[in-house]
């Protein structure tokens, strides 16, 4: 059991951190060039030069392009209209048709941004080329924004995801183990024997939960080492602070596991309920999708999600170098949660039935 507890989460960390990225790469790109001029070719060349697009083919017609998209052979189709170059020079204005496969809405959004960036870039160069000497005076002042990405300068997804996934692993393992544990004693019948002994509720519960607390802390340690060694995730803040927070956080999860344990009779039931909560917690934790973009009611629900707090804290401490005062509000909420959860767990654990 012990190797399973430690090896599987490590594998998950390594695999998930490499796979769970929102970067959209290798976009299958096709185009319909109705113009066949140097300008249209230059535009296509821009896409070709981008590392995000795999330029596939020049489709002969729109009908053919849409049938290819239906087959899933192409994700983005750019249609360059007839007389693209001529109209551009005459009217200084033209339209391009872009069709994007939006089955995966998130990816489609990202693809749209990429296409726009390339077209805009192309547009600027074009402006310079098309400008005539007489126009120079009326050229508008061009405003450019140069973003600086603080705390994750290169927008490295792994830096962002690894701490989050680490949270996930610590949570899942401790919740499942503690949820399963007392139910298992119920199933085997040892709980009945324990219940007729003078052992106190609190003694029994601490005895049951303490090992999992240690397991959780050990998992965090291993995860942090791997994050540093494999992914080179920075650790700007204080490790002590992170451990202090985690030690409170695991109490919340253990209390929750125990609570589940008390209301179920078999390991199967406990597993089901634990999964139910874990899935909701993960998807609403801000780990994969930002909480700010959730509807109002969902944002309120996330207030009761311990994973949300931990994800926030671990990212703050590791990537931003937040100090004690910065995470204090989150820490206090977690502490309150831990007290309530464990209170409920001890209260609902009955030696008599």
């Amino acid at each position: 059991m012990l190797p399973i507890i430690f090896v599987l989460p490590i594998l998950q960390l390594v695999i998930l951190s490499n796979a769970a990225t929102f970067e959209v790469k290798n976009i299958k790109f096709g185009y319909i060039d109705n113009d066949h001029t140097s300008t249209s070719r230059a535009l296509v060349e821009k896409f070709n030069a981008s590392t995000y697009f795999d330029v596939l083919t020049d489709f002969p017609s729109e009908a053919f392009a849409s049938s290819e998209m239906l087959k899933g052979k192409v994700d983005v189709v750019l249609e360059i209209p007839h007389y693209f170059e001529r109209d551009l020079q005459k009217e200084k204005y033209n339209n391009l048709g872009v069709t994007i496969n939006a089955i995966d809405g998130a990816a489609a959004g990202v693809e749209n941004v990429y296409v726009n960036q390339i077209v805009q870039n192309f547009n600027q160069h074009l402006k310079v080329d098309l400008l005539q000497v007489s126009d120079k005076q009326i050229q508008p002042i061009y405003i450019e924004t140069i973003p600086l990405f603080w705390y994750n300068e290169t927008l490295n997804y792994k830096t962002f995801m690894v701490p989050g996934i680490l949270v996930l692993l610590v949570t899942m393992i401790t919740l499942f183990l503690s949820g399963m544990n007392i139910v298992r004693e119920k199933e085997i019948g040892t709980l009945e024997q324990i219940n007729v002994t003078p052992i106190k509720k609190s003694q029994f519960i601490i005895g049951k939960l303490f090992p999992f607390w240690v397991v959780g802390m050990a998992l965090l340690t291993i995860g942090l080492i791997l994050a540093k060694l494999i992914f080179d995730v920075p650790m700007l803040g204080s490790l002590v602070l992170l451990y202090a927070y985690t030690s409170i956080y695991i109490l919340v999860i253990l209390g929750m596991g125990l609570f589940i344990s008390n209301f179920t009779d078999t390991q199967q039931q406990a597993m089901f309920i634990a999964w139910f909560f874990v899935v909701i917690f993960i998807l609403m934790s801000g780990l994969f999708t930002p909480i700010e973009s959730m509807p109002k009611w969902a944002q309120i629900v996330t207030e009761f999600n311990p994973i949300k707090y931990f994800v926030e804290v671990i990212r703050m401490v590791m990537l931003k170098g937040s100090g004690f005062m910065d995470i204090l509000p989150l820490g206090l909420k977690t502490l309150a949660y831990a007290i309530v959860m464990n209170g409920l767990a001890v209260w609902s654990y009955k030696k008599t039935n």
Binding site: G189, T190, E192, Q193, V196, T197, P198, T352, N353
Partner: protein
Amino acid sequence: MSITVSNISKSYKNVKALQNISFEVKPGELFGLIGPDGAGKTTLFRVLTTLLVANEGSATVAGFDVVEEYKNIRNSVGYMPGKFSLYQDLTVEENLNFFATIFGTTIEENYDLIKDIYVQIEPFKDRRAGKLSGGMKQKLALCCALIHKPKVLFLDEPTTGVDPVSRKEFWEMLKRLQQKDITILVSTPYMDEAALCDRIALIQDGKILEIDTPKAIVKHYPKQIYNVRATNMYQLIYSLKKYEHNHSVYPFGEVVHYTDSRTDFNPKDLKLYLESNDLNNVEIEKTVATIEDTFMELAK
């Protein structure tokens, strides 16, 4: 009194597990609860060991009320559930140590109490409890139940699923424990074990049928029982049940226990009747009632 039970009733949803049960167990007594599966024996044990709260009635164990003073009871009773419920992944010695520690004692402190039993499993003390044989498991469970020198010992079907030799040994152990001033309440579905108890209560469908010493219970049997034997068992039972004067017909090992409803019964009539029903080698002889006969009669 070591155990007093007065008017205890307990029901689960629509099953009445115990109905108005009352009895008393004297200190140092070996008291047997005899009844078939589902009679309510385990429920009664769970009430007395404070694992279950009865709907009605009251009970005391070792002088403590099962509801008010349950904490004191847990310190002074030993309970061995019907299902083996020690930690299977701990060794024999670890299990014993564990339970000794929970009760705030050590193995050495009460070693004299468990010595007779423990020496039998000591060769396997480093073996995991889950890997022990059925009889060994029972002995270990008994040791764990005794480790804190309880005043009252509850044994729920301790010999179910145990081989006859181990069963016999187990009862000898109980007899020895009794001499060390431990009150023992034991339940069993085996009628032959009932005779080894000081007093027994026959229980069925949550009701007590009769409480007395095994000898007295047998004496209460109202009729003369006859052993009837013939070559064809099935035909014999069939014919006896068809016989108009039969009172009861029960197979009992290789014979049939038969009682007649008439007071002036003559076995020769029955023999003639059976022979006229094509049965050979018919033998009929008087026999004494056993607890099983009494139980069957009372449960009728």
